[in-house]
Assembly symmetry: C2
Homo-oligomer: 195 residues x 2
DNA sequence: TTTTCAAATGAACAGATGTTCAGTTAGATG
DNA sequence: CATCTAACTGAACATCTGTTCATTTGAAAA
């Protein structure tokens, strides 16, 4: 039954990636088998190997593509002006970007330990690159006299942990609209790094 | 070779739990087999079933015992006085308690999705109970006029995410002494919820 | 010394695992 | 129309999975 209607690599490829993201986010990389993934896509297990050389590379590609997109998107959203505006943009971007991408965030944060060493190193580099964006903003704020904190590196990690923890463990309750969540977080972050 | 020297349940039992915590933290629940765990303990796979009815219950017990201990320990450390003192005690407790228990923290935060539904519900209840301790402090602070924030529930999650993120993803670098880390975090938290 | 039994072994179970590949199919091409 | 070939099937591979249990061991009690 090969080449069914609408069953081209242009369609199956993205389907594999979407299904992998969803299943891995829900059950974890090690707990999802290639046969489960194939079933979710509507294909036999062997067909997946037209889209990835192996399971490990599939995981790596999902994480890398997500992080590369995060960084590129932020660089576009960054006003590159004063530290306060940039920090506000960072918080806003982080929340708005991650909210509709819960599965990708989950995978990128939870599956690091399932990466083989060289893959892990590459992903850590990307994660670090994103953190460095925030750290640079905090240091700019210190230089401008707008912010004050005891340790910019720890503050960076604390803020990212604070922002990401929300999307990582607490699924959208719908209690609060996006603007509200953004305002609440901005209030906390803004005050935390204030002089 | 049964009952080797010093090989009683008083010794093997804790060894199983320690090895499980270490291996699951490092590789994930699904990625650790009972045979790997047994090898780490220095025993055959079958012997593990003297210490747990099954793999799932082992995971659940590790998570439950950790969370129960967290809550009990905090309740002892809680000064139960003014909100500012209590918040300071919470931050100090959280950091000092979790720092030497990185494996348990990791497992309790990362393996929720590998719990069967009723086990998940029980663990979520415990996690919520700990969060509620912090939320109560924040609300007390609001009532006293000491703190001000837009949403105490979101602030609770943000603060816990901020504190826990540190132990979850960033292994101790040794760059900063414990007192320093505590001071940095207290500074951030304190300002974030300030009026 | 003999007895006892908690604690461990090691084989067996049925089924799942990631991956490969010769063969089949059907939409697109000429 | 016949041909081509990307996309997929389905069986096979060696190995691993959680769990059970009859059997063996050896330290401690009698």
């Amino acid at each position: 039954m090969a080449r069914k209607q609408g069953s081209h690599s242009d369609i199956t490829g993205p389907k594999v990636r979407e299904a992998a993201l969803r299943l891995i986010a829900r059950h974890g990389y090690a707990a999802v088998s290639m046969r489960q993934l194939a079933a979710e896509v509507g294909v036999q297990a062997g067909a997946l190997y037209n889209y990835t050389p192996d399971k490990q590379t599939l995981l790596f590609d999902l994480m890398r593509d997500h992080l590369v997109d995060v960084i590129e998107s932020f660089d576009k959203a960054d006003p590159k002006s004063d530290a306060n505006s940039r920090l506000r943009a960072f918080v806003s971007f982080h929340i708005r970007y991650h909210l509709p991408r819960a599965d990708a965030v989950f995978v990128a944060y939870m599956e690091l330990r399932n990466l083989e060493p060289e893959n892990f190193a590459a992903i850590e580099k990307l994660r670090r690159a994103y953190e460095d964006r925030l750290e640079a903003i905090l240091r700019q704020g210190e230089a401008e006299g707008a912010f004050a904190m005891k340790d910019a590196r720890v503050a960076t990690r604390a803020i990212i942990g604070m922002l990401t923890g929300f999307f990582t463990w607490y699924r959208q309750e719908g209690r609060l609209p996006l603007e509200e969540v953004e305002a609440i977080y901005w209030d906390l972050v803004c005050k935390a790094v204030a002089r």
